[in-house]
Symmetry: C2
Subunit: 398 residues, 2 copies
Amino acid sequence: MISEKMRPLVQNNSVIRVMFEEGKRLAGIYGAENVYDFSLGNPSVPAPKEVEQAILDTLREEDSMFVHGYMSNAGYEDVRETIAQSLNQRFGTSFGQDNILMTVGAASGLNVMLKTLLDPGDEVIVFAPYFLEYKNYVRGYDGKLVEISPNTADFQPNLEEFREKITAATKAVIINTPNNPTGVVYPEETLERMAQILREKEAEFGTDIVLLSDEPYRELAYDGVEVPYVTKFYHNAVVCYSYSKSLSLPGERIGYLVIPDEVTDSKDVFTAAVIANRVLGCVNAPSLIQRVIKRCIEMGATVDLAAYDRNRNRLYEGLKALGFSCIKPEGAFYLFVKAPEADEKAFCAKAQKYNLLLVPGSSFACPGYVRIAYCVSYEQIERSMPAFEKLAKEYGLA
Amino acid sequence: MISEKMRPLVQNNSVIRVMFEEGKRLAGIYGAENVYDFSLGNPSVPAPKEVEQAILDTLREEDSMFVHGYMSNAGYEDVRETIAQSLNQRFGTSFGQDNILMTVGAASGLNVMLKTLLDPGDEVIVFAPYFLEYKNYVRGYDGKLVEISPNTADFQPNLEEFREKITAATKAVIINTPNNPTGVVYPEETLERMAQILREKEAEFGTDIVLLSDEPYRELAYDGVEVPYVTKFYHNAVVCYSYSKSLSLPGERIGYLVIPDEVTDSKDVFTAAVIANRVLGCVNAPSLIQRVIKRCIEMGATVDLAAYDRNRNRLYEGLKALGFSCIKPEGAFYLFVKAPEADEKAFCAKAQKYNLLLVPGSSFACPGYVRIAYCVSYEQIERSMPAFEKLAKEYGLA
């Protein structure tokens, strides 16, 4: 019954399901509090109180037909204008509502842009390690994913290999900073060099190459580190934003695309993206939550970053002290730890003996490492430390 | 910049935009109350009061992390179970939560199913007149849309032509009852005959043919007419439901798929559909509104059907009295009126002289007719009658 394209996804899915079932099985045997599940990138900090306030205010102050009804497929004009002005204030950009397209989260925003841009065989470049779902998105529009190998020194993008792998068929590049799974943030000089390479290659091939910046973790940056705004560095840059992490609303599916005027054929690209959003079946981003986003911006709502930061420091320091090796993440809520043996899946299996659930780096096209999601309770991190210690001892680290 | 597939959609879109701008232009000249816009299928009846109650109750009684967080990609189990039990009570079916997949409206549900099922070149049959967006959905997965010509006698499906056009490449059939744009409801005998033909053709070709029932208008049926439940007639039937019209929540993008156990490889199809929903970028249906749907079902919430019914009767009787010809719709909120001249676009242009905005039937693959959406205020219908009268006189009808 199932299409050829979907069949491998169904097979692969059962592997993930086995992992999930294993977690439940362990919790059943040892008790949930004695199983240390670090596998999921699910916010552990609740939505800020402004979200509920904004819902109540919207219901009280706005007309029900307006709040739950159709709007322009691109989203409510006033919501888009509020987002544009907020970006302009924060980043010195000059967007207007006609640059903002409300989407069903960043995943949908990426799909919308790939459907808008890709012809069969077009190449999309990603930097390993990366969120493997990108491959499925690109395949959906018959594009070809081109991987740049990981730079394990500091997990900044390998720009020499990037330069070599850009071809006349390169239509888009996906970046994700702060990064899942490494927590790395690309500084200005990285984006500047990347943009320079893209401009050179556009000139060399006479093509347009779109830089898609997947930004669900933009607001999750620590130690005052700045996350530069990509549209300031490159003309063909499109931002795919999500409120899933920045307001802890992952279930609500709300985000937006920024398509700046500087993008080639910007107006047509925007129109095509609105149509792609419609034709993919989303039609528009959920309406009530759009209204809520506007009010949350006006109220200056943010999630409790300090909770993630505390987790980050505790886990990073704890694992370093035990002899594990990893770079200190500057953003997102993941630690990307070098496995003490080459086969990181074997390492994950050993970790599981101590009820530690970690994700192998090969799930991010980067074997030899594991991802530890610290969007969990602080208590889980504390309780898990003896288990990490036993694991370290098994490898002669601690 | 834009992909080959999207380019014609962008061109076509500007035609629609011109119509929309024309409506605004007329309103600017004559005043909004003197422009009779019957072009949009946008609910004119507000969401029932239970929707707001359900939102408030959810915020008060349920945990914020749960309400706005990730759930199973298929949707909250308890929401799906409530829907399944409600369907079972109403239609004598025997669904469980594992047959229900929450989607970002019916349009997204259709996309999910087409992505799940279609290989390039697979054929999808539709009955004219039909919602032209189906063509874009099918093309998105490289399927081929096959049209059955309209049966203008009563707008029931032309089943003889249907039988002839089913081939070994037929993978799916889309039906929409109550129908947009005709308002026709398919009775039991129609579905029985359609199912019989499908079973015969499945046996003849050794294939599976999935009947996709697009049901945003299921609850909008008048005069006590019954809308039979398709899964009772055919084993490979999948329902694509939406609350856009039944609870007047079109902006919220909430609906579900029903994938019965009787569908070939049902469990795999369900799994593939959940993955398709994820990979298309929706990930899951919006979370808060899922919770609200459960409470609305428990409270027995329905929209004010009487308001639509009043509009239907007033407009139908009014146009008949003026000499226009059309069948009386049994469901949805559209009247499909025969144009008094062969070129229905010329008719629409003449109507526009009287500030009447109607949609030509060629936008539904059925020239010679126009769609009049009566999901407007009763007052608009009243006020528009003199304009319809002038139009009728121009054709020598009244």
